[in-house]
Amino acid sequence: MALSVITRNVWVLLGHIQRRAFQQSARCVSQAASKAEPAVEENEAVNPTFVNRNPRNLEQMSLAVKDRGWKTIWPHKEFYHRLVFSRTQHHVTAEVFSSSSLDPVLTCSTKEWALKRELPSTNCVAACQAVGEVLAQRCKQAGITRMVYRAIPWSYRSDAVQSFRKSMKDRGIILSEPRRKYIGT
């Protein structure tokens, strides 16, 4: 009985409150939320504007601004997250950067004791593959599954980079980013 009353109220409300808007306050930052409930009716009144303070919300909905331009230089900066893979003489490092931070968000390298202990050699193709698999698992646990990876062209064809790329893709990381949603898209 009470249930049918509630559902009828809900339909009415959806008819009225179809378009409650929430604002974006700045370029890359998420929207703000104001969901105060005055004591008029218990839990019934909702503030019309809602601001979401999750910094990753806009880019996950592909509404955040990408840094366009930079087309005359390499690498470009039009991404939300980028993947950097570097091989030095003794170690192999893979890092994920976001467009707004100097420090990497996620790293995986053979310098960590957890990986170093398991690998016989820290700069071979198998080490690159291991780094790729571990980084893919960490990215999936962190909720970052789409990133841009642009390797230096002549090293891209090497076995190590190919095996790293293959292990990332096999574990479910997509190495391209969604296109941004403009007005009308």
Binding site: F22, R56, S101, D103, V105
Partner: protein
Amino acid sequence: LAPGPLPNQDIDVKNLESLEKYHSYKRYFRQAQEAHNKPVWWHTYRKYVEKANPQVDIGFPLEQPNRTKQVKERKQVMKENKKNMELERAARLWEQTSGPHHIRRLAEHYGIYKDLFPNAFFLPIIPLKVHYGQNSSVHYGNILTPTEAETAPQISFEAEEGTLWTLLLTEHLLDGEAEYVHWMGNIPAGAVQSGDELCHYLPPFPPRGTGFHRYIFVLFKQNGPIDFRDNARPSPHSLEERTFKTVEWYKKHQEHMTPAGLAFFQSQWDASVTHTFHHTLMKEPVFEFIRPPVYHPPQVKFPHRQPLRYLDRYRDGQPHTYGIY
């Protein structure tokens, strides 16, 4: 007159042959990256965006064993490894060695420290494992559906006998108010079921159209049993009673507890959210995204190559769209 040395000032332009050559792209690329990240005296976009707020560490200090001994032991293990060519993964080792630092970096990227404790951070040294059923578990930024998170999760963490812990689940919403959906205090070591449940579990309800919300589990270690009776919420609840500020609550009990573990997940709207709204809270709100206004530069007296509707953009005292970002 420049307030500092100009870049490439000390290169002798007339004698370019005497300069040291790079001989490889990699060497140049590495030097270029270091030069890009070096702090400079001229104005950059990075300095404009960076906020230099002093950060305070409110967690436990990390215990580092003697470094030289550690390095010796590790070198021995690596020698033995070289003879044995099999590969394995060790996730447990990561949790103890570099796990806390990685989780802390991710939490800063997600803005969790900024929202929960302004101007403070902590290193989550205790690995906190939260599982919703068989398949879904909460790591650091996972995406879960509200359907999976409908029932209360199973929580496990390593703890010595005799220690007391507090677990808090928040969803930070407003400019200073967090909404807490589940909270247990005075948990004896290891057994989450036998703690005092101060507020029972409310499944996450991200409203439709608002995108992804973060739900944060924080584990505090208590020095002794704490009286949470003024914070206890009885079973029939309302959203108003559930709103509270983590900062104020933590300041009240600051001396008796320290944050030690962290886990968070994201979730979006789902059909089960409608169900939660109707049965527990209220009528379900639906939101739509407002885009920022289209950018127009300041008005110029003689606009070059602009259409006639250029004047419509600045007519009738409309708010200007430059300088709002």
